[in-house]
Symmetry: C2
Subunit: 145 residues, 2 copies
Amino acid sequence: MKKTTFPSPQDAESAFYEALQGADLDAMMEVWADDEEIVCVHPGGERLVGYDAVRSGWAAIASSGRRLRVQQSDLTVVSGMMVTVHSLQEHISVQGQGGAPVAVVATNIYQRTGNGWRMIVHHASALPQGNRPSQQAPGDPKVLH
Amino acid sequence: MKKTTFPSPQDAESAFYEALQGADLDAMMEVWADDEEIVCVHPGGERLVGYDAVRSGWAAIASSGRRLRVQQSDLTVVSGMMVTVHSLQEHISVQGQGGAPVAVVATNIYQRTGNGWRMIVHHASALPQGNRPSQQAPGDPKVLH
């Protein structure tokens, strides 16, 4: 049973990034719907489907000992009655390490439940490093589609 | 003005993959909502936001001369009144080239419009090549989160 109620998708998203930066597994899983259909894709990682697989993925990250800092930008929102979509860019750095943040694009999807909004999809993938958008041709041979 | 009406998200998705495999730019853009908030991320590519940017991305791919074959698997669906989410895996090969298909995870999001369902997000990213899920640790150092 979830203890926390998120009255809006934005509340759930704020809790998501707070839990991510805090490496707080319990807080992270409060954000997710307790459902077999939830999907999480970490940058460069597999597609994790279902609550147990998603939890295991976050558990491995929370126990890695690294603390991440995540800045968000370029948010677009499509709101529905039951499902809301956030698309944004994340700028991720590891605390205590130098270097430029890594840019990631994230699709975060939230569903209205009987107990507030919960995350049902987090799909994150790294953006081309060191390229500005105008320098990345979508028809580049390495880009499949 | 869109000419084609897709009565369901699945109808839009079928048209999407047909257009992708046929390298048919007009058919592809029929699937998309004519909106400034639409988002398309090709595997390894930038985040394209808005109808013109999304169209330019597909135009480059359609004119590349390569014909893709895309098999779909492992579909999960979350349906809302206005917004529906499909998560699936794509297995992509280039026609006339050998080798194993490339595995991609896709998040496809559809919105109900006044004229049927349209795609509003396509987020695709390559899965780790040659790894089975059990061999990919989410806490792998190269995986940020």
